[in-house]
Symmetry: C2
Subunit: 320 residues, 2 copies
């Protein structure tokens, strides 16, 4: 980030025809874009929404309301333009990039073995890195993967403690029996991989998923290329938890697009000191909540770039 | 409202390619638009943002950080396209209609007399009614008026109780002395008009303002014409409080676009059972918060109208 660009953007905000600070988070967002784009007048000409898709061995434990073939079916629905994210991406003027990760080869069931070996894990991270174009002004990350709220909850429990009951939610709408199976699976996974729990990257490989690893890779690449990031819901946020555990400030270039209705998301955001932009009770994933938040960034930027200053408009300031 | 259109819209939402309810408030908003437009596939082709401007006798009591001439200066800024609302209206694809109400003739200082007599009050309501076109798909109401958070706080204290300290906030950024003068003015007004406090319309005339009366007129006209409404911040919400006090359900066609940083707004929304769509710490007025919320309605409608059904997309449902 560039403190000078952020300061220049903050100064510009002070001179626009409004009481100082009265645009609230819209001001903060314009300054945040300026900091990470290293430009006091940031732009949103090219926005990439990256939706990574993966399949999970843990799905065989009956933890989801939907069968695993829905992952590939929804990827086809993204390609055909029929999903929620297609509509929101078009509205927000963003390019949708869907990246399926070996859907025919699910990760291993992590109640019995590591979900991914090192090669698998690094390959997924690498795929994520390559999804970020150099000339991108904003990256939005989301996911699709039947059973991946179980994966996300397991990562949270492994890296933050609190146990399976605290982090397991209903995901796409699992019933009481399914929720009980979900908790059992998480507890079993924590036990099997107990000796790894101090190592964030080992946890991400053993208890994560390919689409989560790809998200962390994309977020790392964005950081390196000065691209600000909007995170989607519980799974996308859990995907970057290992990064946050590796070093402080690793997510400073990220904002939480929204807080989802999935029960663990609010607590996870609090742990990461991320204050969500929207709270609309959404729980769809596929980057949908963060994609809605793009609209708020556009509003922030429209004001930042388009408003008149007090001097230009001949408006009296406070106490004049 | 049309329950059949709402039911048809709700049924459509159930068949779209997403877990039922997973779009959260976006689903609720699509159904709400359907109910009030009386159309299961509602539209947002013509959106009017009406910003009513008025001046207030109470400004002479030193209750604002800005001098009263700023009201007219900001109306000129709206006309020139330099204000925040101009940028957001353009982004949201909405027509901005600015309606100044006799800015050269402020209301009377309500610590000594009624702010408006009956003729003045009805004339302002009538102006508001006429700001709503018949073919409007959505009305967004906001205001501009130096000292009008004092007016709004006085209306709240008069109709909801709780006293001046509870409802008086810093508005555009008044200092401690100004805030103290604001409280004193509100207390004096409540005392002078004590015998009116049981009568919502009498309170709206004696303790209100022209732009607030115009907002209530516009919201009434919208109701009659089947036009759903987004309310802006503290002042715009206080403007419709007298309507809510007249009869139950009078604001069913309204949603709160946002909750502002002005201290009384959250409590006022709770009293009115309005759950705000955004919470961005904005406190600018001029319809800016509600105008940002238009973007959420557009996202809701894009999904409602554009998504494929499970059958169309060949996606398996829950438990298939």
């Amino acid at each position: 980030g560039d403190a000078q660009a952020a300061d220049a953007a903050a100064l510009r905000q002070q001179n626009l025809t409004k009481p100082p600070g009265s645009l609230g988070r819209l001001e903060e967002l314009a300054i945040w874009l300026a900091r990470w784009q290293e430009n006091a007048t940031p732009r949103l000409d090219r926005i990439t929404i990256a939706v990574f898709a993966g399949n999970h061995g843990i799905a065989s434990r009956g933890v989801s309301a939907y069968p695993p073939e829905v992952t590939a079916q929804m990827v086809a629905n993204f390609a055909a333009g029929g999903a929620a994210i297609n509509q929101i991406a078009t509205l927000a003027g963003a390019e949708l990039r869907v990246v399926p990760l070996e859907l025919d080869r699910p990760t291993r069931d992590f109640t019995v073995a590591a979900a991914m070996d090192t090669e698998d894990f690094l390959s997924a991270i690498d795929t994520g890195c390559h999804a970020v174009a150099n000339d991108c002004d904003l990256l939005v990350v989301g996911e699709m993967g039947i059973a991946n709220t179980t994966t996300a909850a397991t990562l949270c429990a492994a890296l933050l403690g609190g146990g399976a009951s605290h982090w397991a939610g209903r995901g796409t709408g699992v019933d009481d029996d399914g929720l009980s199976r979900k908790r059992t699976a998480i507890e079993a996974a924590l036990k099997v991989h107990e000796r790894l729990l101090g190592d964030p990257l080992a946890v991400a490989a053993a208890l994560g998923g390919r689409e989560l690893a790809a998200i962390s890779g994309a977020v790392l690449a964005a950081r390196q290329r000065g691209v600000p990031v909007l995170l989607d819901g519980f799974v996308a946020t859990a995907a970057v938890l290992p990064l946050a555990r590796l070093a402080g400030g690793m997510l400073d270039h990220c904002r939480a697009g929204h807080v989802s209705a999935e029960s663990g998301h609010r607590d996870l955001l609090r742990e990461l000191h991320l204050d969500p932009l929207l709270d609309l009770n959404m729980r769809l994933g596929e980057a949908s909540g963060a994609a809605v938040a793009i609209l708020l960034l556009r509003a922030a930027l429209a004001c930042h770039l388009g408003m008149a200053t007090f001097a230009e408009a001949g408006v009296s300031g406070a106490g004049d």
